[in-house]
């Protein structure tokens, strides 16, 4: 199973993206998306942004669980207090709990990354440290 994770800024601008595969059940952590799927993933993920806006006020939680699906691709969303969206594209057999843990860990590291004085709001997150931490969170929970 493969995952596509993206962070979308307050102007619906992409800040960060990362593709990885499952590390559970003997997975090697490599994504198995086909060549075409790379582009499709971005499209599917961004098309769910409208739904994010619909559901973001429904319950006061940051983690909004699965908000959209496109055939077998499910989109889970986590919105930070500063209106930055974390979106994860995944396939069905996945517990909400695991994704929640993944988001929480990424959130923690995201906050640290953007506290760097050289980071400006809505700027692409290029920190290699952050990328490693996202990868680590992916390995740990998904």
């Amino acid at each position: 199973m493969s995952y596509y994770f993206a962070i979308i800024g307050t102007q619906d601008n992409p800040l960060f993206e990362y593709e990885f595969g499952t590390s559970k059940q003997g997975g090697d952590g490599q994504s198995r998306f086909t060549e075409q799927a790379h582009h499709l993933n971005q499209f599917v993920l961004h098309s769910s942004l409208d739904i994010v806006e619909e559901v973001q006020w429904m319950n006061g939680q940051l983690y909004m669980k699965v908000i959209d699906k496109f055939f077998t691709n499910y989109i889970s969303c986590f919105m930070t207090g500063g209106n930055v969206k974390f979106l994860l594209l995944h396939q069905p057999p996945q517990t909400e709990e695991a994704i929640k843990n993944f988001f929480n860990e990424v959130y923690e590291n995201y906050v640290k990354a953007i506290m760097s004085p050289f980071y400006k709001v809505n700027m692409e997150v290029r920190s290699p440290v952050f990328r490693q931490r996202v990868a680590a969170a992916g390995r740990k929970y998904l």
Binding site: K112, M115, S116, P117, F118
Partner: protein
């Protein structure tokens, strides 16, 4: 003996504290702004930070002497180093850098910072130059230079490694250039 006395002095001196994140963010914003103002000319940024620190140091020494009650002159440069690390850094930044790498003539030493309160959260810009040119905490060099100058010591202080650059340690090298003798005012005639 002198060393434990210095540690005690550092522990006992009470200073008002501010939130660490406030310091981190304020200092960070300042460095980032300097980088912007100087168009990422990091050599100039380093110089500017050093100059700012120097101006802070010139005045900070007074505060240090008043708060720490250490009016006795240090008998040698080693003692000065102890006081800087265990009293000065302790009361102002609540850290105690390690003093190492003395030269045999006792005129140069290194301060190794296990933690640097300025550098929390910081990642240097990834423009390929900042990692080699910017000394992020360079203000500290200026502070030491300024403060020591006011107590008749001319020193040169500079960073030689920084964990922000990917080095294993953050190390500042301090060299005593000379003791400044009291200079008589120029004659009138």
């Amino acid at each position: 003996m002198a060393s434990s006395k210095a540690s005690r002095l550092g522990e006992e001196t009470r200073m008002d504290k501010v939130n660490a994140e406030l310091v981190v963010l304020t200092y960070g914003a300042m460095v980032a702004q300097l980088c912007k103002d100087f168009d990422s000319d990091y050599v100039k940024v380093n110089q500017q930070l050093d100059k700012m620190g120097y101006n802070i140091g010139l005045r900070l020494i007074e505060d240090y002497l008043a708060k720490s009650n250490t009016f006795k002159r240090c008998s040698n440069f080693r003692e000065t180093a102890e006081m800087i690390a265990k009293v000065g850094f302790k009361i102002f930044l609540n850290i105690t850098p390690t003093i190492t790498n003395w030269t045999s003539d006792g005129k140069q030493f290194s301060l190794v910072f296990d933690e640097n309160p300025f550098a929390d959260f910081v990642e240097l810009p990834d423009d390929g130059r900042a990692q080699d040119e910017l000394w992020y905490s360079n203000i500290l060099c200026g502070v030491l230079r300024g403060a020591l100058e006011m107590v008749q010591m001319q020193v040169e202080a500079k960073f030689v490694s920084d964990v922000l650059r990917g080095n294993d340690t953050t190390e500042m090298r301090i060299s005593l250039i000379r003791y400044i003798d009291d200079e008589l005012p120029p004659e009138d005639d």
